[in-house]
Amino acid sequence: MGDIFADYDVLGAVWVTIQLSLLGIIGAMVLGTIIAILRVSPVAVLRGLGTSYVNIFRNLPLTLLMVFSILGLSFILQLSVSDDFARNAFWWAAIMLAVYHAAYVCEALRSGVNTVPVGQAEAARSIGLGFGQSLREVILPQAFRGSIAPMGSVIIALIKNSTVAAVIGVGDSAGLLQVITENEGASLPTFFFFAMVFVILTLPIGLWTTSLSRKLSVKR
């Protein structure tokens, strides 16, 4: 295990995983919120756009998206994000993580809206709040609290899925584990090290979002 730290840039690979995850989370949050707004809007065409997005990206394997981004979009359609080969793969991986998980962020937000009982909206209406007011003062605060736990699961899944970037040659944790295992043979300590990296990255998020969702949950 000590040799492996000396011979390979283990921490560098972990850092790539963290970078990919952070970029993916930010992108997925922004894109997912937009899609969620489309999905609950009163306009049928916009709803249709949002629904198609979710149905397409929830049912495609992330691996296919990643491979397509490099072999299809980048090589054949010439849509490179960077001239440097490695940077190009890294950025496409981050983009595809965001695009794929945006569908799940959207569903997490929507499940939050669904936890709000219809009576809340009716009550807001009946005391004379307008659409914007009832959304701002009554619906959204409750919807936000209801979506914390599923949002935590989405973020955890995204961090784990950042390993798929290894398939297109990004030197993240999974990529480095592959190189080490190919060169040095099976070494359980190395595997456990990388496995624990993910346990350490994801466990606090799970605990934190669960306790937060309990603390903030609306007593009904």
């Binding site: 609950v40 809007s41 009163p42 306009v43 049928a44 065409v45 916009l46 249709g48 756009l49 149905n55 397409i56 929830r58 049912n59 495609l60 394997p61 992330l62 691996t63 296919l64 491979v67 397509f68 072999l71 299809g72 054949i76 359609l77 010439q78 849509l79 809206v113 669904n114 709000v116 219809v118 909206a121 009716e122 209406r125 659409f131 009832s134 959304l135 619906i139 955890i156 784990k160 899925n161 950042s162 390993t163 798929v164 290894a166 398939v167 944790s173 999974a174 584990l177 592959q178 295992t181 190919e182 043979g185 099976a186 595997f191 990388f194 496995a195 993910f198 346990v199 466990l203 799970g206």
Partner: protein, 276 residues
């Protein structure tokens, strides 16, 4: 969609006008996206007939590439889901055991495999064990690695399903079992588990979508599934982009059908329970 009817008032004349404007904007966005995609594809020469025709005119595309690919995907998924259900039942029951050390052991195993990325397990199982030793015949090494990783991950998820399914049962079920003189173990096996399994059927079908999608990770360790065969197809017919798009459409159709099936099962279960 129940909230929606209340979230928005019946639109008045102003709101209807606004909705019309948004409809036009939405349609323009949709057409705009389609146009941008068209221009990009046209510029890269991806819309030529020879690239797309084979999918309709040449049966070889299906018999030699796509169907073997689907077969690979389904084989891996089918074996994995069966093994994962067994794994999940064993460890789910273990987590419900009254014997504390067994409960802790099972909890640690389940939590560990749930938080480790599938690809990490797959890569390690393949390059570390199956590819370098003779545990399984060489040509099945990638399949064995895919199945191992998928079983461990999805088994852990199913163990959680079993646990939450049993916890979700009304407590009267346990009490009744104990009252007629069954031991806690018998109550679990003959009263709680059968009910929990029925209740988790929709979630299990939903999990199948995850397994089918994750089997595409096998691409990274040379397992011959749909994605890998589409790559070969793309180089054989010089139509990489169309090959991936068709593979993507196949994935979406299969998984969308499974999702719908899960929703249908869920609805049927709810109706049954409402009647009971």
């Amino acid at each position: 969609m129940s909230t929606q009817a209340v979230l928005f008032d019946a639109p008045g004349p102003k709101a209807r006008l606004r909705h019309k404007i948004f409809t036009v904007i939405g349609a323009l966005i949709a057409v705009g996206i389609a146009y941008v995609v068209y221009v990009q594809f046209e510029a890269a020469g991806q819309l030529q007939a020879f690239m797309w025709e084979p999918f309709v005119t040449d049966p070889e595309v299906w018999t030699s590439y796509l169907i073997p690919g689907l077969k690979g995907t389904f084989t891996a998924a089918a074996i994995s889901i069966v093994l994962a259900v067994i794994f999940g039942l064993l460890f789910g029951m273990g987590r419900l055991s009254p014997f504390a050390p067994l409960r802790w052991f099972c909890s640690v195993i389940v939590e560990f495999f749930r938080s480790v990325p599938v690809l990490l397990m797959m890569v390690f199982a393949y390059f570390g064990y199956f590819a370098t030793s003779n545990i399984v015949p060489n040509q099945h090494a990638p399949l064995a690695a895919v199945v191992t990783a998928l079983t461990l991950y999805n088994g852990a998820v199913i163990a959680e399903l079993v646990r939450s399914g049993v916890h979700g049962l009304p407590s009267g079920q346990t009490e009744a079992g104990l009252a007629v003189g069954l031991t806690p173990g018998q109550v679990l096996r003959s009263i709680q588990l059968p009910q929990a399994l029925t209740a988790m059927l929709p979630a299990l079908v939903g999990q199948l979508v995850v397994v089918l999608k994750d089997s595409a990770l096998g691409y990274g360790i040379t397992y011959l599934e749909l994605l890998n065969w589409s790559k070969t197809l793309g180089s054989a017919y010089a139509n990489t982009v169309p090959a991936y798009i068709v593979a993507g459409i196949l994935f979406v159709i299969i998984n969308y059908t499974l999702t719908k099936l899960a929703v249908y099962l869920e609805g049927r279960l709810k109706k049954k329970r409402a009647k009971a």
